[in-house]
């Protein structure tokens, strides 16, 4: 993985649109809804291939989520697609009451999550969606780290009965996984680097940064385990607790508020079962602002460099 910088990059929203299109033939009940963002969420790829199974709801996300609920209640597998801000934010109560409460088989494809939306700024940078979705009983929350994992997650979500929130990004990110060998295991974390001094637990686009940080730390004599948590809910408590027991220190990294996301989920788990120090890297209790995505990630400490420095601090080095 040391050649991370050289390998190809792709935005997971692109993977989302492609996966829907690739899976459409196999699953005739799969239908796609969007709210006037097909070009951005990449469901436009599906729309072009299967126009009769694509329904634009216009700029009306609340109704879109309700329509998805009705389709699911009638045997369809709807993928309701829009930006994370509107899927989890604006439509929250419809997702909770019309999809979550009746536990309907709706898949929510939320793109443009996090600070890496970039230039559009705070109004569109959703750093709260994982927290919001995680509190809905029965909701699965998936944050894939790259193209391969994103496509596999979409395929797995179709086979699962029940509501699923999938978080995708706008920014092209390194493709870490090998499509030939990768297997998506529902609710299971993935150990990408073994180590004993501490464990870096990352999700989404921060997984690549975590791997890069661990490799750099290793060169400096620090053995950092790296776990990719693609399913934030239900959380793989086993892998988290094992890391807590074996390495004694956990560092969580996510492109999301430090309140309510992966860091919170991990802290909740270990504080009740195996209390160890947990340090959370994420967006602190503040709004984002405009700027190029790559620069913003650095500004907000969502970088390998900040992971390295924080890890060293945790180890008093």
């Amino acid at each position: 993985m040391s050649e991370v910088k050289e390998i190809k990059k792709k935005a997971t929203r692109e993977s989302y649109g492609e996966a829907l299109t690739e899976l459409a033939e196999k699953y005739p009940d799969l239908v796609v809804l969007d709210a006037d963002l097909a070009a951005a969420t990449k469901t436009g790829i599906f729309k072009k291939a299967y126009p009769e199974r694509f329904f634009d709801c216009g700029i009306a996300e609340e109704n879109m989520m309700g329509v998805a609920a009705g389709l699911a209640a009638s045997g369809k597998i709807p993928f309701a697609s829009t930006f994370a801000m509107f899927a989890a934010g604006r439509a929250y109560e419809i997702v909770r009451n019309s999809i979550g409460y009746p536990h309907l088989n709706v898949k929510i494809g939320a793109t443009h999550a996090g600070i890496s939306v970039g230039e559009d700024g705070a109004t569109h940078q959703c750093n709260e969606d994982i927290a919001l979705m995680r509190t809905i009983p029965g909701m699965t929350v998936i944050v894939p780290c790259d193209d391969v994992e994103a496509k596999a997650a979409v395929a797995a979500a179709i086979q699962y009965q029940g509501p699923v929130y999938m978080r995708f990004g706008r920014l092209a990110v390194p493709v870490l996984n090998d499509p030939e060998t990768y297997q998506f295991q529902w609710g299971k974390g993935v150990t990408l680097r073994d180590g004993n001094d501490l464990t870096i637990i990352a999700t989404g686009l921060m997984v690549a940064e975590a791997v890069q940080a661990a490799d750099s730390l290793r060169e400096q004599g620090i053995s950092a385990r790296v776990i990719n948590i693609h399913t934030i809910k239900p959380l793989d408590e086993e892998i988290v607790l094992k890391a807590a027991q074996e390495t004694g220190k956990l560092l969580t990294v996510e492109e999301h508020s430090v309140i309510g996301g992966l860091g919170s989920a991990v802290a909740e788990c270990v504080s009740e079962n195996c209390p160890v120090p947990v340090v959370r890297i994420g967006v602190n209790d503040e709004f984002g602002y405009s700027g190029p995505a790559v620069d913003l990630l650095k500004e907000f400490g969502l970088s390998a460099e900040n992971i390295i420095n924080t890890a060293k601090k945790m180890l008093n080095q």
């Binding site: 216009g58 109704n63 709807p78």
Partner: protein, 285 residues
Amino acid sequence: MDEAMKKQLRKMAVNVRKGILTGTFHAKSGHPGGSLSVADLLVYLYECRIHVNPANPEDPERDRLVLSKGHTAPALYAVLAEEDFFDKSELEKLRHIGAMLQGHPCIQTPGIDMSSGSLGQGISAACGMALAAKLDRKNYHVYTILGDGEIQEGQVWEAAMFAAHYKLDNLTAIIDNNGLQIDGKITEVCSPEPIDEKFRAFGWHVIVVEDAHDFDQLEQAFTEADRITGKPVAIIQKSIKGKGVSFMENQVSWHGAAPNAEQYAQAMQELETALAELEGSSCLR
């Protein structure tokens, strides 16, 4: 509609009203006012329009009903009990811990097609069901009932736009126009009127029923709705909140309050009298 049928519907409607009062009385809470205003509509729909089978409540071919104004669940529960989806004794356990019948409709209850009650949401789910029928080339019809206060929710108009855009002529929305919401008259709280013109402007075929408690008028409206193709139908039914219980009629205070023992006894007495009159006389109103 022949007189025998009308008499049967009227008797059933009185029994449904008794069920509404029994449910809310035992629950010591709930929404009798709006439940009583949709009682006749629900009786008519389940007896004359909706094809469902209590022995197979999840039949994929069945017609669907989404009670978007979910707080009037007691009326729907009383009708479903009459239709044998569950035992009438369930009504006495309404809103109790561990009960089948929740404060607002829950999809797990036999005969309930969608969880609802957070206003404005049911009509969207109904759109999804109607769209699914189109995709699957199935003939089932989808009904959804909204309150006139409920249509203040913006989501209702998102759904109205969607239904017309996708030509959901297998969808009928009934707006229960009793003119009252919790804070007072709908025209004084934040007027949604003119309701008919709004739906027409959104591309719906609109039918106004002047007396929602007259089965002939309901029959006429739904017969007209049957003939409409290419667009969804909105039936605006002018109803009386609290209909059938003298001291509850047109009283906004009965929107969300349960009768006490004395009030319950009086209401049941009135309904028993109404039932006796129906049994004893062929001279109907």
